[in-house]
Amino acid sequence: MKFTLGWLKDHLDTDAPLDEITDRLTSLGLELEELHDRAADYESFVVGEVVSCEPHPDADRLRVCVVDTGGTKIQVVCGAPNARAGMKGVFAPSGTHIPGTGLDLKEAKIRGVDSSGMLCSEREMGLSDDHDGIIDLPADAPVGESYVSYMGLDDPVIEIALTPDRSDCAGVRGIARDLAAAGVGTLKPWPYEEVKGSFDSPIVWKRDLGDEGKACPMVVGRAFRGVKNGPSPEWLQDRLRAIGLRPISALVDITNYVTFDLCRPLHVFDMDKLSGDALTMRFAKNDEEIEALDGRSYTLDDTMVVIGDAKGPQAIGGVMGGEVTGCTEETTNVFMEAALFDPVRTAATGRKLAIESDARYRFERGLDAESALWGADVAAKLIQELCGGEVSAVTVAGEIPAPRAPILFDPNRVETLGGVAVPSEEARRILEGLGFKTQKQGDKIEALIPSWRPDVESEACLVEEVLRVQGFDKIPAVPLERETPLSRPAISLPQRRVAFAKKVLAGRGMLEAVTWSFMRDTEAQLFDGGEETLRLANPISADLDVMRPSILPNLIAAAGRNADRGNGDAALFEVGAAWQSDDAKGQRTVAAGVRAGMSGPRHWSAPPRAGDVFDAKADALAVLGACGAPVDKAQATADAPGWYHPGRSGALRLGPTVLAWFGEIHPKVLNALDVKGPIAAFEVFLDVIPQPKGKPAKARPLLKVSTFQPVNRDFAFVVDQDVPAAKLIGAIRNADKKLVADVSVFDVFMGKSIGEDKKSVALAVTLRPLQATMTDAEIDAIAVKIVANVEKQTGGVLRG
């Protein structure tokens, strides 16, 4: 919402300096967006008269002009075709910054003739694109006067950001009322009175809205005969231009002016172009068409209100008038419309038709319920003043919506809800200043809501009104009371696990990424995703159209992007959501990571290596361990889903529950994502990690350290190739669960010497006696047990 200071002062009697006004606007909730002081741009420009204009001795198209700038005469070389002796124009002396070109004017010799200063075109002034000639001012322009004061540009333009609840301040008068209530001057009296009219309007209003009367509760019209629709007066044109509107003609300018001055959009029809003797507020028929004032054609539907004459729709209610019946310079008979439209329907219509108009902006916020009536009087006065002619009595259909019930307001609520005590009388004064009619009801105040404040609906709203007029800075800040003397845990165990996962992965040298929750459907399909129920109806782009089934494709793509930038060694992770379905259970919290490229740069001591399945397994186990999963009970099974390499991947499970997948990414998937491999990756599903039952014990079990010498023995077993190492380890552990403290695999060998389909697995076993140092006989006995158990459980034999 834009207006000028002078315009504001039409409604507000104040001597307050500009900065006080703009500060108050912000503290009232009418946030100052921009203050544009147009005078600053044009400080040096003056009205000049061309005293003489002779051809340039050495250039056909140039002329040498002498310009009287009010006392001094200055020689200027000018190329404008319209330069002539006796004309008045806008003169800029040397040194002036020319806003349209961005250049500073210098003294110059043009083809040998001195030139100091310039006669400006509109484009050079930054006023328009017109560069056909220099500005030709009226003959009565006073020579030597500053251009700023001559054009009325010394009136600063104020732009405020208007919140969507405030329709009243979409008019200058509403802003003035707020400022007056806040003590910045006084609101001037309402300048309009009822206009009777000298004849009956030949066109009458009808409403044909069925049960949906609230689509347009009321409409008022007036006819005007014998008007003259020329250009509007300078003051009106100046105001419109100042706020960025183009003056068109007196009639149109009046409707725009009243829209911004009083937040009362009006529409004027050329009465001679209307058919029949009635205009009807009705719903459009589906596929009905209208050519609107913006020169475009719109196809309507039956949710939209139109103003129809005998021929068809002539305006889109609350949004835009029609081109065919619009007013032109030739219009002499006018029919004016002032209506109330349903905000919701108007917004929906505007949105469907993609029309942003000043009328829609106001109607969708909700207008003053009484404004259709007074709007007709305002229009009558202005049209008669500026265009002459005769005005009719009003024609009305519908009625003013019933006033809303008064709000019973307890002024103590300003303190108990708003945090600052305001005396009851002061609260009343503020509400009265905003236009509420108030009455004391015991300790409370009964407040009648003004018709122009559809946003006010409850006691809390009145608290806000009082507070905002006082200024929120008047509310003393109070520290929150603590509920407990010391802080209590703020996060739950699952939330803490997310933090654990992030910390442990960053600690393992990985970089945390945050990537989109959505991705391209074809890529999601590679990861069992792309479900129709998880497809966005209105994606921001085709490559972000389904919710991600896995974080991995985003991380793989990120590794690819980094490789393209020359950084191929990427260890990236993300902890976040991935989706299996659109219900509450379908959103899973996943810690996922990729290791692409090499483990590091080439180094003199040892070569780097590519990440593989066992890096991914270590990452997954580290996350699980940090999150308190029973890692020692988890089984590794070789059945990861299809986006992993079938031979080099696996799952970590607790029974049927998959805690994690890990492995190298399937080359076909990498191909489809256009990323070079190999890439090792893991996904840990944090939600399924078991939670301790009850309050977890913080005390550790007692540490039992043996004082006796541990014994290390190595074994090598020959087993079938498909026997998993985990099975061998288990068989050894099970041989004596107390004595066998540790088993590690230190060699795996396959070769003809041990037979086809066989492998030799070498294991180091640590025996830790608790009672006494082991004798050779005891050690041998245990070794025999181990060999026997391995043979029984895996078919493995001790390698000879």
Partner: protein, 358 residues
């Protein structure tokens, strides 16, 4: 006895002259060993009478001890020299680079979340969560944004496909639905913050289709706007680590709060450089207000008895301001150089006691 003295001098001289551990060892064997000279002389004592034997034995023992001590002393000297020589030969170029290790980093979003939780946690808030895919009721209707309310369009909502019953799920446009879920599930008093991902169908220099917010909510019987101011001013000062950062509350509008306010912090933009806490300019950082009575009622909480405040804040924005990150869109690009530069070393969780940003 004379020849014993002579023997001692002779042996001590040969020990002193030994120039290697091997030479020293051969002296020990040839003189003190089982068949060594001194040992042989000891054996020869058996032929003497007891008196003489004792005397001669003592004298010979003294020689043996002296030589043995000398050998030990010489041995440690030679061993040290040998080690010195060995170490001197084992010399590396210590200017060679150490073995490479990759250093991990946490994303600025994680750091900011942790800092926010550290501050509000001290004020008694606990962290609540809700799903990213929301229904219309929680994202809009319960927040006093009825169907066709213009605010729904302001939100640029992402929709999922329409279901057979006409329902359309949305990607939550703000973290405010977590307020609703919390109020529906837990009776007051309530004090929660809800950090999380949010989505709007908007993409340009300053908007991304996904971003992060933190929501705050207090519901009890007495909390008023003064508390709201106190809480958020305290937050701004703690978070930006500027003790006297000016904080301004401006009236504004949100459908789910009444009264509503936007909060600005003081800053300076001199010379194109943004500084928090100085100068006379303002920067908007969050929206807040007293929970709208209709919102309480929609969650089954009696608005005549309970009241409270709510706020919502963009995470990227305050992260950019605090850490000096110039471009929003870079947050989600996973550029290794960016992550290393703007990421955080995972040393410790931020707390007010130990400090927020390392």
């Amino acid at each position: 006895m004379e020849n014993l003295d002579q023997l001692r001098e002779e042996l001590l001289a040969s020990v002193a002259a030994a120039d290697s551990l091997d030479a020293l060892d051969s002296i020990r064997v040839s003189e003190l060993g089982r068949k060594g000279r001194v040992t042989e002389m000891m054996k020869g004592l058996g032929a003497l009478d007891p008196e003489q034997r004792r005397e001669a034995g003592q004298a010979l023992n003294a020689v043996k001890t002296a030589v043995s001590d000398a050998i030990d002393a010489r041995h440690s000297g030679l061993a040290e020299a040998a080690l010195d020589a060995e170490l001197a030969a084992d010399r590396v170029d210590i200017t060679l680079p150490a073995r490479p290790e990759s250093e991990g980093r946490l994303h600025p979003i994680s750091q900011t979340f942790d800092e926010i939780i550290a501050i509000f946690g001290e004020m008694g808030f606990s962290v609540a969560e809700g799903p990213d895919i929301e229904d219309d009721f929680h994202n809009f209707t319960a927040l006093n944004i009825p169907p066709e309310h213009p605010a729904r369009q302001m939100h640029d909502t992402f929709y999922l496909p329409e279901k057979p019953d006409g329902e359309r799920l949305v990607l939550r446009t703000h973290t405010s639905p977590v307020q609703i879920r919390t109020m529906q599930e837990t009776p007051p008093p309530l004090r929660i913050i809800a950090p999380g991902r949010t989505y709007r169908c908007d993409s340009d220099m300053t908007h991304t289709p996904m971003f992060h917010q933190v929501e705050g909510l207090i519901v009890d019987e007495t909390t008023h706007m003064g508390h709201l101011k106190g809480c958020l001013i305290e937050f701004c000062r703690a978070y930006f680590e500027v003790d006297d950062v000016p904080v301004r509350f401006r009236p504004s509008y949100f459908p789910f709060t009444e009264p509503s306010a936007e909060v600005d912090i003081g800053c300076s933009r001199k010379g194109g450089e943004l500084k928090i806490g100085e100068g006379d300019d303002w920067l908007e950082i969050l929206g807040c207000g007293m929970v709208h009575p209709k919102v309480l009622a929609a969650c089954g909480i009696d608005p005549d008895k309970y009241q409270g405040f709510a706020f919502g804040m963009g995470i990227e924005r305050i992260a950019m301001l605090k850490y000096g990150i110039p471009d929003l869109r870079t947050f989600f690009d996973a550029d290794l150089r960016w992550l290393r530069h703007y990421g955080f070393v995972p040393l410790e969780v931020p707390t007010l006691l130990r400090g927020l940003t390392p």
